[in-house]
């Protein structure tokens, strides 16, 4: 293949992987603290619609965009607060509450967005980093993206450092591994979990804004089209490690680009069968990763999904 095509494919891979990465990072922190939130689709759509409406009214450049992104994060966080209250304070089942959050978010976003269908914005434009973006190949692949791509990578680096080297990171992990012992040590289990869930909601809301302001700058009902579910799988795929989440997001991005690119090479396979490729690869990689039983068990937060009732 010619180098330009490869560079372009890699560029598209990073863009496709970015919304998945944003959601996955949020959910990773949430799950590290022991909470399983399946409401990504709902939170993502709320982020998308809130970001779009804000950008429409406040303008889609400069301050307007920044406020739109902040509002999208707030919308996602508010949705996750609802989830947190029900599951953490009222001990409702996390799996079912997450699914209910998705149903609720689908309805609410569509309701809020009723008057905004058919409107177009310019959206967030890529930043061509000076000098760096002129580099051959790498310049295009790495340094000509929109700000959210850089933000997602910076956030990944920050989280990797957070979990590796900070006390707060240790606390989140401790709460996720054994809330009982964490509490015995005097750690505020519920507060940590609330914050983790809120962080997850904010990141997911931002991913929604990525769809409605960067990827396809428009609002349309249910425009997340299942990306939340894929991001959820990514977290498991990454075995709760930040670095692997980045790799996984881009691997998944690459797979979903490749199944489209391959069609251009006149490969006579049904597009439906080609479309199974990303999922098959994910399963294969996961099997390879998890075959070493002792290792993989180390990574899953032990109390994931289990309700924690202090003193019960």
């Amino acid at each position: 293949m010619d180098p330009d095509l490869i560079a372009n494919i890699l560029y598209a891979t990073i863009r496709t992987g970015t919304p998945l990465l944003l959601v996955a990072l949020g959910e990773l922190v949430c799950e590290k603290s022991g909470v399983l939130n399946l409401g990504q689709e709902g939170m993502m759509l709320m982020g998308a619609v809130a970001g779009f409406i804000a950008a429409y009214h406040l303008g889609d450049s400069g301050i307007g965009i920044v406020s739109a992104l902040v509002l999208a994060m707030a919308a996602g966080a508010l949705m996750s607060l609802l989830f947190a209250f029900i599951t953490l304070s009222l001990n409702a089942n996390q799996v079912a509450s997450g699914l209910a959050l998705t149903i609720f978010g689908l309805g609410l976003s569509s309701f809020v967005g009723l008057g905004y269908v058919g409107i177009a914005l310019n959206g967030i434009q890529p930043w061509e980093l000076p000098l760096l973006s002129d580099l051959p190949l790498l310049g295009k692949v790495l340094f000509s993206h929109d700000p959210l791509v850089y933000f997602s990578l910076a956030m990944a680096a920050l989280l990797a450092w957070f979990f590796r080297s900070t006390r707060a990171g240790l606390i989140v992990k401790a709460v996720g591994e054994s809330p009982e012992s964490a509490q015995a040590l005097g750690l505020p289990v519920l507060r940590v979990r609330y914050l983790a869930v809120l962080f997850g909601g904010a990141m997911t809301g931002l991913a929604g804004a990525y769809l409605s302001l960067v990827y396809t700058p428009l609002w349309a009902d249910h425009m997340s089209a299942g990306r939340g579910w894929i991001a959820l799988a990514l977290v498991v795929f990454a075995s709760w490690r930040v670095g692997r989440a980045v790799l996984g997001a881009y691997l998944f991005g690459l797979m979903s680009i490749m199944h489209l690119v391959l069609q251009g090479f006149e490969i006579a396979i049904s597009p439906n069968l080609l479309a199974t490729l990303p999922y098959l690869v994910t399963i294969a990689v996961l099997v390879l990763l998890s075959s070493n039983q002792a290792r993989s068990k180390l990574f899953a937060p032990l109390s994931l999904g289990k309700p924690f009732q202090p003193g019960h």
């Binding site: 598209a12 269908v117 700058p217």
Partner: protein
Amino acid sequence: MHAKRTFPIARLALAGLALTTAFLSGCSKPEVDTAEVKTESPQESVASVTGQEPLKVGFVYVGPTGDAGWTYSHDKARQFMQAELGDKVKTTYVESVAEGADSERVINQLAKSGHQLIFTTSFGYMNPTLKVAKRYPDVKFEHSTGYKRADNVGTYFDRAYEGRYLTGMVAGLMTKNDTLGYVASFPIPEVVRGINAFTLGAQAVNPDVKVKVVWVSTWYDPGKEREAAETMILQGADVLTQHTDSPGVINAAEAQGVYAIGYHSDMSEYGKTAHLTATVHNWGPLYTRKAQAVLDGDWESEAFWGGFADETLSLAPFNDAVPEDVRSRVEAAKAALIAGELHPFHGPLNDRSGVEKLAAGSNLSDEDMLGMNWFVAGIEGELPQ
């Protein structure tokens, strides 16, 4: 309906349940006017056609009205009809109705609650529409994109391929790389027909042109549609079009500085410099006509397949980038289409492998177009079978 065996005991049990609810609903709030919903006999529900009661017209949509594509175009047409006919009609719609077992229930419920004309706007509603129509012989049904009819079920569609042919001409004249890109949903005849017509239109003005096709296996996923468009831009396509529901392809073209052609509605809003023109469905006049026919009592089941000639189809305004000579060639072709002097599928036509599909001098029959499952020469990529 298929003749099925029945079990009396189950019917008794059901009757018991129904009685219980009837009792419960009697106890609750009587102020709701349930009379029209409870009309068991279809004959009664139609009795009001002749009176002053507005004609109740129901719509079943496959997507949300906010999808910006197919369903959006139907809902705009519903509003157009409502505005045209005013008090004479009352419209109802149910959105995002799944094409499986759910659709029959929704269509049935619309018929049962006194709707006398029901538009079912997706191919998957074909058999459910026919089943319900059999139960309600006096209610009129209009099914979009299908091929089965009955005395009270008509079908309607637009000859979108005419628009595809003309927009193909625009693409063929505007491309610099002689490479066009087509984002397609599923290999069904409606989509295949559009791809072929687009290709033939482009080849009519530019014999060297090639059309690349990417199948996204979804009707609606703005992000994925954009990805597909971008992979074709990577591979050299510089005019794109799509047969999916969102403007994602237009977004991609605008961002990457290539041209695009819309479908379903005028999508210029999403690509002010990229969007050259679009094939636009214009169901409004048709819906108004059909409702008026039911009001007048002269509705008849027909296989309506309209095009530019009866304004069921139109082209969106040209972008300033389209030069005058391109416009005049397209307008001339459009006039010829309307006059019946030009047919997009005019022989000789060969498929990709060189097999003759249509002899020189003849036009492809409607039936052959309806079931089209082959690609004309000049399309890159196999047609999935």
